[in-house]
Symmetry: C2
Subunit: 423 residues, 2 copies
Amino acid sequence: MNLASLSDEQLNARLAALNDRYDAYAALGLSLNMARGKPGRLQLNLCNGMLDPALLGDYLISDGSESRNYGLVEGIPECRQLFAELMDVDPANVIIFGNSSLAIMYDLIAQYMTFGAGDTPWSRQGKLKFLCPVPGYDRHFAILAHFGIEMIAIPMDETGPDMDAVEAYVQDPAVKGLICVPMYSNPTGYTFSDETVRRFAALRPAAPDFRVFWDNAYCVHHLSDTPDRLLNIFKVAREYGTEDHFIEVVSTSKISFPGAGVAALAASATNVAAILERMKIQIICHDKVNQLRHVRYFKNLDGILAHMKKHQALLVPNFNAVLEAFEANLTGIATWTKPNGGYFISLNVPDGCAKRTVALCKAAGVTLTGAGATYPYGKDPADRNIRIAPTFPSRDELCKAVEILCVCVEKAAVEKMLSDRSK
Amino acid sequence: MNLASLSDEQLNARLAALNDRYDAYAALGLSLNMARGKPGRLQLNLCNGMLDPALLGDYLISDGSESRNYGLVEGIPECRQLFAELMDVDPANVIIFGNSSLAIMYDLIAQYMTFGAGDTPWSRQGKLKFLCPVPGYDRHFAILAHFGIEMIAIPMDETGPDMDAVEAYVQDPAVKGLICVPMYSNPTGYTFSDETVRRFAALRPAAPDFRVFWDNAYCVHHLSDTPDRLLNIFKVAREYGTEDHFIEVVSTSKISFPGAGVAALAASATNVAAILERMKIQIICHDKVNQLRHVRYFKNLDGILAHMKKHQALLVPNFNAVLEAFEANLTGIATWTKPNGGYFISLNVPDGCAKRTVALCKAAGVTLTGAGATYPYGKDPADRNIRIAPTFPSRDELCKAVEILCVCVEKAAVEKMLSDRSK
């Protein structure tokens, strides 16, 4: 289907047919949600065995101390080991937190604002800027906006952010850092190429207190038996002496349970020491029983990878259902990514049609991530990107939701083309 | 025993006998710890039933949503209800957090530093001061010191802080607040009298962004069948229109498991709204599975109170062992509190003897909370207060540790008296 090749008459006929279909859907009074990256119930059930208290045994951890009592603010040794395997770093470079990698990043930016990442608190340095690869994750942007940090959008393609732009912007000392999802990025599913990772490691920012938040949320969330591979940022950074620039965060939110998982960071020895100094004031320890539960259940990285194969088996049909519907209905009208992993598909509708599409879906009972959410300040300059989250709905609900979405995309596109022609 | 009535000769003879006993203890190579307020293993075992996954049923919470998935940043409704009963407030005034009430206070002070508790961030108001009832909790002081807030010690007696001093100090607009443990205070075990609570509620501080952190850590931690009773600060504050001054925090750290418990706050509608606004940026949700576990296990306040009776049965003999040893060995030499609840006994040795006592204990294998820890900046002006934590050691270890402690107190006291006389 190439809408541009149709006559006004043909377009109007097409729109009339789409309107009939749309009205029929809207009359169903559906309530379907493809907005958030939440696992579905079958995925959650994969991990119920972790809640078996027999796994906890005598509640003692590997250093002989009690998991049920205070102590070990940095996390229990075996959990640091597990996350060290996951991130391919030394356990000494790992800190275990509560359940949220988002909270790790928030707290770290709060720490940098008040105490600094170098000699001077960020809050005493006037205007601050962060680079934001787009399309990206709305909750990253929300943290930066909350702290009054100016966001600069950096376009991204299948190799990662535009590194020419990144290298140019970091010459500005007000640019304090960047938040990104380097593997199976939210929402595109792109994984940074080896060259991109190397160029990150090689950055020589003007700011001496520059930090890259390497949110590796989907590091084992493969949707293919030939998964993407991300170069280890710390190994490359070591060659350039820039390890201090990087804070990697991960969590088991989409491995075990969102909200009841375990989050962790990896960082240089210097950064680990500075973060622990703050944590020792902030909290006595995180939930070590939950840490022990995770370690005893997964055992090691192989255990996690085997578990993720089960997630893959549940998720691939959902992703395929969306991709097949797009292929059948939106070829020539829209473009979309075909991720090897992660939680999202990034859909680009014709320019100026994203808000209209989302609004049409909403009115027909299908909730999508808000148009613009994938851009800083919620402003997609082309009004074209929509994040599709195929994991949470049941297969039936998903198929129905995508069917409606495709009609809405085409309806918005035809409306737009007719409106443009009439100008 | 009244040391002052003894002659130098008698004191020297006494010291020689004490030295013999001390050396004999030191030769045992013991390693005993009475430093931290940690529950003992038998206390932890009281709650193992909470880890039974059968309690979680189908994982659904009262609003029909999933405990194992994202959502409800403010906590699950039934957990807000449980903590509302615990704090005697409306569930709408309760927010459920992770495992740590300390982290709630840290995060809130961080929020006030960066965003303010009123119109202007605390960090942009120059010198800030907090009032610190003494003796008090070292981790409270550590948070204030971390944020560069000047601490002003306010003496406390069995009715609570010296409210004349508090009322005078809050006339200074640099005084932004106060952190206290109003019930079974750490370390004295004192509970604020009704009049003290009323005077707190009636405070008219010069600072428009004044906050009292009402750390009600031991609200149900009774050691007596005729427990203390604390007036509900919010009920009284309502009479004075000062609810916004107060942030109450509690946790189940010493009800269920330290580190694996649930923490919560109660605050005015205005404060709850401001805190939730921050939390929505900071985290998607806290651990709702653990929240559900706690609610299903305890059911309601009566369930918690019945559970705390079991803790009381385990702890009373430990506290009595310490109090009886003090009575037998330190009468006329030192003074101490006899708490109706909480986790500590506050021991006052003769002025100038606390550091020496703690050092003597340490060298004989008994670790105590550092002398001075109960005062801001670790500086006890009289060098006399020592916090005794009788909960963690086994009965045998505790008795041995207290026996050694008593010898060390008397040895330090006799040494000091001889030294003073020789000046």
